[in-house]
């Protein structure tokens, strides 16, 4: 049986007449991980800060386990927040940092600390100070410290963005498995779609103070709600305000390839390689859109013809959920 862990109802936040969050409503089941993805400056961090209790919403309510907690202070909520920077206490060792979380939340158990040290691979560095360990180790310690408070919900604010790419990759999977093994409910904020896909069961595309769409990766790709979602995913060619084509349906050639379709003139801007395949970056002047497509052989020409079969043209679903 699933139970609703965290619920946000009609949350609005205005700041100096600017609406940062506009009437947000969503809920999380126990053990569910949701990724919130959106461009920087879209108010994702504000959303997390309101959930954590660091800021008050202008309107709306937050409900946890059926109880309203909107007015509860951050230190009384069973919600933990992992920031972009590890923010370890520099005057405490790795172990003391983790202990601290457990002690202030009055959930200290020596075995728990040990298992967290083991799980994060920090047991060997328990007596090191934060300045003596690497960025990835610091972030893992910060995570262990957050977990030591045994939060019912844990919030992440782009926790990997300050790490180098290879480390980021490792840590993503590690955190995902770690959360899954403990059935922790989590909200994961990022501006990176790939990260959002790895981390979340559900993905919420957030822009302009609103959820543009909430759903699984498949739903998002198969039926994006609107132009914003589609352009953020980058897997579609947007034809106009209500029509799009999935990129895999787009055909390339020197001439129009299909009789029953629309055709555009495109210029080759660049060819790069990704996952071992050449990717062509095209600019379609008529639509003022750039698209990237994997190709099988190199295209010698500067100009190509992009053909879209009529039956692959779809309309935006317009459904947020």
């Amino acid at each position: 049986m699933t139970q609703t862990k965290l619920e946000m109802k009609n949350i609005t936040k205005t700041f100096n007449q600017d609406t940062i969050l506009n009437d947000l409503t969503f809920h999380l089941e126990k053990g569910e991980i949701m990724s919130i993805v959106g461009p920087s400056g879209s108010g994702k961090t504000t959303l997390l800060r309101i959930l954590a209790g660091l800021e008050k919403p202008t309107e709306g309510e937050i409900i946890m386990n059926g109880k309203e907690i909107t007015k509860q202070k951050a230190n009384r909520r069973s919600i933990s927040l992992v920031f972009q920077q590890p923010l370890l206490f520099p005057h405490m060792t790795v172990k003391e940092n983790i202990d601290y979380g457990a002690k202030v939340s009055k959930k200290y158990k020596a075995e728990k600390i040990e298992s967290l040290l083991e799980a994060t691979g920090m047991a060997r560095f328990r007596d090191h100070y934060p300045s003596e360990i690497s960025g990835g180790q610091q972030q893992r310690t910060a995570l262990a410290r957050a977990m030591a408070t045994e939060p019912e919900v844990i919030l992440f604010d782009e926790p990997f963005s300050s790490l180098d790419p290879s480390l980021r990759q490792d840590l993503r999977y590690w955190v995902r498995d770690f959360l899954a093994s403990r059935e922790t409910t989590a909200v994961f904020v990022t501006h990176d779609m790939e990260e959002a896909m790895i981390m979340g069961d559900q993905i919420a595309v957030f822009e302009n103070g609103k959820f543009q769409q909430i759903g699984t990766v498949e739903t998002l790709h198969q039926s994006p709600a609107n132009m914003r979602v589609a352009s953020f995913l980058g897997g579609h060619l947007i034809l106009n305000d209500h029509e799009f084509v999935p990129l895999h349906a787009v055909q390339l050639g020197s001439q129009k390839t299909s009789e029953n379709g629309v055709s555009f003139h495109a210029s080759v801007e660049h060819i790069t390689y990704q996952h071992g395949r050449p990717i062509v970056h095209l600019y379609i002047r008529e639509l003022e859109k750039k698209i990237s497509l994997p190709i099988n052989e190199s295209l010698p020409k500067q100009e190509v013809q992009v053909t879209i079969p009529c039956d692959s043209i779809k309309t935006f679903s317009g459904e947020i959920l």
């Binding site: 954590a52 660091l54 230190n75 920031f83 920077q85 206490f89 520099p90 005057h91 979380g101 202030v104």
Partner: protein
Amino acid sequence: MILRKAFFLILILLFFVIPLTALLLQSLSAPWRFHTGQGIDWGWQGYSTLFENPQLWEATFISIWIGFAVLFINVTLGLFTGKALASYPYRGKAWLEALLLSPILIPSLAIAMGLHLFMIRIGLADTFWGVLLIHLVPTVPYSIKIFHNSYQQIGKTMMEQPHILGAGFWTQVFTVELPLLKPAIRSLTFLTIVISLSQYAITALIGGGRVLTLPLVFFPFLENANTSIMAAFSIWFALIPVFMYIIIESLMMFLPYSRLPWRNHR
């Protein structure tokens, strides 16, 4: 690297070791005049005159008390004001900061003269508490500035972290803020104690000569030309902040998560 070390050594010798040695030697010898044909007379006259002064110990203790009290109030006021300045955004912040700094822009004697009347009215003139209060005037602005800067350096998010983990206000102050503010407390200790210790005019005015601090005992001696006595006084004077600093430093060791020198790490 060697050049820099040498430079540092020369500076230390020139501005610290040599003057201090000269002062020490001067306090241990009778005044010596160039070309009088006499050698140096070693002796304890400087110190014996110092300790013969019946008011010396009383003045020293009162000075230390006032110093500690001023420091304590400064840390408390500075800490919370600095924290508030660093954490709350509001309009007119620059004005408020300027206002809080203003007591050191206006001569403290002018403030003291104004406050004197007020203190007479409420019965604080000629008392320990009056002197204590007036010593806050030239020190509190510095503490606010120092703590404000330190809190800014620690950063807002670092302050939010313990709160998120579940720490209450006071737990946070003692476990995270005070330990991270140690450098600020150190500079503040020296600053406030030295400032408080060297106030003559305002102490004399508000204390009315009844609250006896070290400068009040020293001033009459300024007129005499006996450099040995003055040197002995100066050393006595300089030892007090050092002594108080040691006490504060040992107290700070009791703060949570301190690295104690005798505790073995790794």
